[in-house]
């Protein structure tokens, strides 16, 4: 090792004499620079968090509705797909009916082809409106037959209402049949017996009954046990499960059942593939009111089904207005023609007055008749007993005498059973 050239003291001495370094800037300049920087930093401190907050809010807006309706949306997707396929089917069936209609009109035969093309163009944009036009043209002359069950039908008969899905599993149609009353049998027994006699196929609905399950009804506790076999078909998809639930809920409502126990071959509970294990079914308290729309499963010139949709509407006036709109998403059609306008008034408890405007054409034809039935059924859901129609162009529409108060129907969609 070589010797140090510097001692510690020398080095310290040198260090203390190190040249002084000065900042030659003007203090004001420095102060300004600092203030600018601090201002910037302040800005930065709120810009970033607020941007993050905004992004988070945006995310929330996007996600929350999705999360809330997450279960619904799964079902809707299935429905939407079904809807798409049916609407194209529908257009096709309408295409078939158009030329027929035109042939009756000899003047138009020559232009038929051109017209048909035009019609088709219209069809693709507004298939629904076209159909209702079509109905009114076609059915004017035909006899108006009631679709619902009225009080006068009831002599010695019991009404059984079955909730039947339509072929697309989009709607639950309440179909009512009349059977002879039998004092020896309870209404539930009649319901169970009649299940196998329904002709859903002929009516244009899904062949859903008899249900593949055994029923035991405890009249005292108003408790129904539904026992399905191990290989029951109701858990095939979320929509079959949903359908079963809807159908059973309807059964409960019609037969005044309080609770349904679910069992599989005698063992408690049914294992659904999508909803999972369920032991019982208690209907949820649904809010809103049922509003009736038309369903034409057998083409536009057949007798319509009146299908209730549950809507959050609290006044009969709003309900009747809503009934003028087609419900494309459910494949349902407006039950009141768009060009009919009216005022509604509750005269007294349970009595509804509907006064048509002068421009509204209220004549005795089938569409008008069915519209009135739809109005009556909806009025019933709003707890009205009678409806009086005023300012119509005629005094009588089908079986309805407009000079009298019309009683609301007992049940919707009366269909006959084969003998």
């Amino acid at each position: 090792m070589k010797e140090s050239k510097w001692s510690d003291e020398q080095l310290q001495e040198l260090l203390s004499q190190m040249p002084k370094i000065k900042d030659n800037r003007d203090p004001r300049e420095i102060n300004q620079a600092i203030e600018i920087k601090m201002g910037k930093q302040k800005n930065r401190t709120w810009i970033l968090p607020s941007a993050a907050a905004a992004a988070a809010l945006l995310l929330l807006f996007i996600l929350v509705p999705n999360l809330m309706s997450w279960q619904e949306s799964a079902d809707k997707q299935v429905e939407l797909q079904a809807d798409r396929s049916t609407s194209s089917e529908q257009i096709q069936s309408e295409n078939n009916t158009i030329p027929e209609a035109k042939e009756e009109d000899s003047e138009l035969i020559a232009q038929e082809e051109g017209l048909e093309e035009q019609e088709q163009a219209q069809l693709s944009t507004e298939p629904e409106a076209e159909t209702s036009d079509e109905i009114s043209k076609k059915i004017v002359a035909s006899e108006s037959s009631p679709t619902a069950v009225y009080e006068e039908d009831l002599s010695g008969k019991a009404v059984l209402t079955y909730a039947i899905p339509d072929r697309e599993a989009q709607n639950i149609v309440p179909v009512s049949v009349l059977v002879d009353e039998d004092p020896a049998r309870t209404k539930f027994e009649l319901f169970e017996d009649t299940m196998s006699r329904l002709t859903e196929d002929a009516w244009g609905l899904d062949d859903y009954y008899p249900l593949k399950a055994n029923f035991t009804y405890d009249q005292g506790n108003r408790m129904l046990t539904v026992d399905v076999p191990e290989d029951h078909p109701y858990s095939m998809s979320s929509s079959t499960e949903l359908l079963l639930e809807k159908v059973l809920a309807n059964v409960m409502r019609d037969l005044n059942i309080e609770k349904i126990n679910l069992t599989t071959e005698g063992n408690t509970g049914i294992e659904f593939s999508h909803y999972g294990y369920r032991e019982e079914l208690i209907p949820e308290n649904s809010t809103g009111n049922l509003i009736y729309y038309f369903l034409y499963p057998n083409g536009a010139d057949s007798k319509p089904f009146l299908v209730p949709l549950r809507e959050k509407i609290n006044s009969i006036k709003d309900a009747l207005t809503a009934m003028k709109q087609n419900r494309t998403e459910n494949n349902l059609q407006a039950s009141i023609p768009e060009d009919i306008d009216f005022e509604t008034e509750e005269i007294q408890d349970g009595k509804l007055l509907i006064r048509f405007n002068n421009e509204s054409e209220i004549i005795d034809n089938e569409p008008t008749f069915h519209a009135i039935e739809a109005i009556l059924l909806t009025a019933k859901e709003f707890d009205f007993d009678t409806v009086k129609l005023e300012n119509a162009d005629v005094d009588k529409i089908g079986k309805f005498d407009l000079t009298e108060e019309l009683k609301v129907p007992v049940a919707a969609n009366k269909r006959d059973l084969p003998n």
Binding site: K5, L15, M18, I21, K22, D23, I30, I34
Partner: protein
Amino acid sequence: MDSVFDELYKKYHHDVFQFLFYMVKNKELAEDLVQEVYIRVLKSYERFEGKSSEKTWLFSIARNVAIDSFRKQKGWKQRIMEKFDWSTQQVKDELPLPEEIAMQRDEFQLIYRCLDLCTIDQRLVIIMRYIHELTITETADSLGWTESKVKTTQHRALKMLKKHMEDFKVKEGMDNEGIKVER
């Protein structure tokens, strides 16, 4: 706030600036860093409880700012540059001497060069203890060390500095050739 700035400026500006300059050896960078020191001081001035003296408090902030700046320099860019550009290592020490130093005697230039070769801790102690002539207590306070750590570090730092200076001399001597080789 302005009055605080004025006061700090009058009392400590040149000390802080010089300290930073000897730490980073770059006038422009030191100018930026001294501003950063002011910003940190002004932000936390209310929190200054007077536990330590104002001077040591300022030095401790200046030290943090300097160390942060080293870290920033040693950021990812620097590391990548080092990997690909071998010339940086040679260029490093060739930063031009600031005129204040360049005009001085050889010894000062030598010290200035060799400061770099010490560790950061050693450099801190050398600058605080000998250039700024802080007491051991003040230094310990500024650095958040115990006094004994200051003592051992300053001892080791002087030794390192000396060694580097001698090495440097030897190298230079060999380069210039012919000037007194002791043996």
